[in-house]
């Protein structure tokens, strides 16, 4: 029997770490890179990466966790729908514990709401087909990685002629979020560790304008610890060279143009719309709404939900955490009132959230105090 089989060798990790250390020594100032993907957040913490980083290189977690960037208003709408006794609400597991203005889906379920955790959007369509007398709503959350699946669900429901299926869409686009961060005056990011999964769909080329307009180096990477280290080494080297470049270290999965079929299906069903983000506010053309041809699958119109409102917990600094303005330990609630058992903010709820990752995994040595913002 073999032990954990990881798709890397020890030699590669050591080599990348050495490159990172050498490049870090050549830096004239401390640098901060940002990843914008929950899987990168988790992977980095799980492999203890932060305990291996040179002192002058910091990896921040940006707005990459789909649960964390979902606005309080969107969460409240989900909970409102779940409380409707005619509704079966289907959701990916992570949304279950997110706390809205009043409770979470998990609490609604314990109180009798019909909330189902699904692994695929098509499971929700199947449920709707099997239960014609129930209103089945799918909580369509996530970035470009999960959007094609939501689009496929709508197309399938349409093909089956289902009258009892709809989605509550809060899908978001990653590029507008990266732009917003680079344009904000109080956040300084020296380069992006770009998300491999999203890039598989949208392609490498779409990051080029970020590099050109903002002179911010971008390196696309996979999700294993050694792949992240290799990307950080490359980002540091680019800063040392004073060069803003786009590099694709995940070329086995990411092409220049991306997955055209997935892009086509997204375009068929959704159209960009201005969207409210936690921590970033309302960003132009940053979310996706159903095209008019599929409007009848929009749960917001179907259940007459109106525009989302909702107030964030005033003490909670999730918005600052996901924009790199603060680290979890800067938040007064962190590990005191807010823990994974009783989470107040989405970053503590989600297994991909920065706060939960800090709480759960942070290396044993005293955490390096990270200066937030600039």
């Amino acid at each position: 029997m073999s032990a954990v089989i990881l798709p890397h060798t020890e030699g590669q990790t050591a080599k990348s770490l050495r490159r990172l250390t050498i490049a870090a020594k050549a830096l004239s100032r401390p640098v901060k890179f940002m990843e914008v993907c929950g899987t990168h957040t988790m992977s980095a913490f799980r492999c203890g990466l932060h305990s291996l980083m040179p002192r002058n290189v910091t990896l921040l977690s940006g707005p990459g966790c789909p649960v964390c960037v979902t606005s309080q208003g969107d969460i409240d709408q989900l909970i409102e729908l779940a409380k409707d006794r005619d509704v079966t609400l289907c959701t990916y597991g992570d949304m279950l514990r997110v706390v809205g203005s009043e409770g979470s889906l998990e609490q609604c379920r314990a109180e009798g709401a019909d909330v189902r955790v699904v692994y695929s959007s098509l499971d929700a369509v199947k449920l709707a087909a099997e239960n014609p007398h129930r209103e089945v709503v799918f909580a369509a959350v996530g970035f470009e990685t999960t959007t094609p699946a939501s689009a496929a669900a709508v197309i399938e429901a349409n093909r089956l002629g289902l009258e009892n299926f709809s989605i509550l869409a809060s899908h978001k686009l990653i590029i507008p979020a990266m732009r917003a961060l680079l344009e904000s005056k109080d956040v300084r990011v020296d380069g992006f560790l770009c998300p491999g999964h999203v890039a598989v769909i949208i392609g490498a080329a779409v990051f080029q304008p970020i590099v050109e307009k903002y002179h911010s180096p971008c390196v696309i990477a996979g999700f294993e610890g050694p792949q992240i280290v290799a990307a950080l080494a490359r980002l540091t080297e680019l800063v040392v060279e004073g060069r803003a470049g786009l590099e694709n270290l995940y070329s086995q999965a990411v092409t220049e143009e991306g997955n055209l079929a997935a892009q086509a299906i997204i375009k068929e069903v959704f159209t960009p719309a201005d969207w409210q983000w936690r921590g970033l506010g309302k960003l132009k053309s940053s979310g996706l709404t159903l095209r008019s041809a599929y409007a009848k699958y929009d749960a917001r119109t179907r259940f007459n939900l109106g525009s989302p409102t909702g107030r964030e917990n005033p003490g909670c600094r999730c918005g600052d955490v996901i924009t790199g303005r603060a680290t979890p330990i800067d938040c007064k609630l962190f590990a005191t009132a807010c823990t994974p058992v009783r989470a107040l903010g989405p970053c503590m709820v989600s297994s991909e959230g920065t706060c939960q990752a800090w709480f759960k995994y942070h290396h044993v040595r005293t955490p390096k105090k990270v200066e937030a913002g600039s």
């Binding site: 029997m1 073999s2 032990a3 954990v4 089989i5 990881l6 020890e10 990790t13 050591a14 770490l17 993907c37 929950g38 899987t39 988790m42 913490f45 799980r46 492999c47 203890g48 990466l49 932060h50 305990s51 291996l52 789909p66 649960v67 990916y92 597991g93 992570d94 949304m95 279950l96 514990r97 409770g103 998990e106 609490q107 379920r109 314990a110 109180e111 955790v117 692994y119 959350v141 996530g142 970035f143 990685t145 999960t146 999964h197 610890g225 050694p226 280290v229 823990t339 994974p340 058992v341 009783r342 297994s351 991909e352 709480f359 759960k360 995994y361 942070h362 290396h363 044993v364 040595r365």
Partner: protein, 348 residues
């Protein structure tokens, strides 16, 4: 394993909300929380407060008593079924306390409409597992509830055992002691999760559910330096390791590269964004052993068919911080905590 006192001081907040949620049954921090805030304040006594796998009862002869309920879905899964699970779980809870199983009481709660054939298959499986463990089902009870009030079949098994001379207790653990796991982790939890949530996925994953009393008996007979045993069921290896660190107050360091995980289990967990360390096992034990007895313990475990992949995975250090630290394959370090509750897959 967390004592009532420990929990009161742990800063864990009271159970979320006013209703029981599925997460309260996950064997993680929320389960501890429910026990501490709801059960123990009402039922506390010396034997119960220890929260060991079996209670060691004083008397003419020391007796071990344990009880467990099984509500797994699906009823049959690759590598086992609810019947085998109910017998093995109770046998193992006795065995890890150093007790020899004497008899099992079996309670069946059946749902109206359950197919007789299904019940017979599960009873056959109970008989086979009991025979494997060399223990008898000595008494029982059967109830039937109406359609919609249950989910096929629920089983409760209580086991009584003769406690041996070994004093297996976390208080005996000291710096320098080693941690051994008897084989690959997370096989049961991942096999059941895949069978339940993604029945369409073809996989080689199989539950490890097995009675471990013979292996444990040999281990205790041959190795004098065994200090403590635990079966890492719900809450997984992480739950047991974090508990051990907290309960002993020592620093426990685990080496990730030594922890055996089957590639298929690792990939399934990776796909669902779940940490294999948090996943339940039903045919593995964690052994704390004095450093001088490590080789003997490994030999004893490896000689049994359920322990062939046994490895040393950790060591207790001198620092009195009660933290469990994982040294990762990549050379990094992170804290290992008890999981929260229900294991949920990630979004992206």
């Amino acid at each position: 394993m967390i004592s009532a006192n420990n929990l009161a001081n742990s800063g864990i907040t009271p159970a979320t909300g006013q209703r029981i949620s599925l997460a309260h049954g996950g064997g993680g921090q929320l389960t501890d929380d429910l026990l501490a805030s709801c059960v123990l304040p009402r039922l506390a006594n010396r034997a119960l407060n220890e929260l060991l796998d079996s209670a060691l009862l004083p008397g003419v002869e020391r007796l071990a008593l344990t009880i467990d309920s099984y509500v797994v879905q699906p009823l049959k899964f690759p590598g086992g079924d609810i019947g085998r699970l109910a017998v093995c779980g109770t046998v193992n809870d006795l065995a890890v306390c150093g007790a020899r199983p004497l008899g099992i009481a079996l309670s069946l709660i059946l749902t109206e409409g359950l197919e007789r054939r299904t019940l017979e298959d599960i009873l056959d499986s109970i008989a086979a597992a009991a025979s494997e463990a060399n223990v008898c089902i000595v008494t029982g009870d059967t109830k039937v509830v109406g359609r919609g009030q249950g989910d096929g079949i629920y089983i409760t098994t209580a086991g009584v055992g003769a406690a041996g001379p070994h004093k297996l207790h976390p208080d005996a653990v000291r710096a320098g002691d080693m941690l051994i796991v008897s084989g690959t982790i997370a096989d049961h939890g991942m096999a059941v999760m895949l069978a339940r949530e993604m029945p369409q996925v073809q996989s080689a994953l199989k539950s490890d559910v097995a009675p471990l009393n013979h292996m444990i008996e040999q281990l205790l007979r041959q190795v004098p330096g065994v200090v403590f045993l635990r079966d890492p069921t719900r809450g997984g290896l992480a739950g047991v390791a974090a508990d051990l660190a907290a309960r002993t107050g020592l620093h426990l360091t685990l080496l990730e590269e030594n922890i055996p995980v089957r590639p298929e289990t690792w990939h399934a967990a990776d796909m669902l964004g779940i940490d294999p360390l948090d996943i339940a096992n039903e045919g593995k034990i964690v052994v704390v052993v004095r450093p001088g007895s490590v080789d003997q313990a490994l030999d004893a475990l490896c000689a049994d068919k359920h322990g062939t992949d046994a490895r040393i995975i950790g060591i207790f250090g001198k620092q009195n911080d009660g933290i469990c630290e994982l040294r990762t394959c990549m050379g990094g370090s992170r804290i290992l905590q008890k999981p929260y509750g229900e294991q949920l897959p990630r979004i992206c």
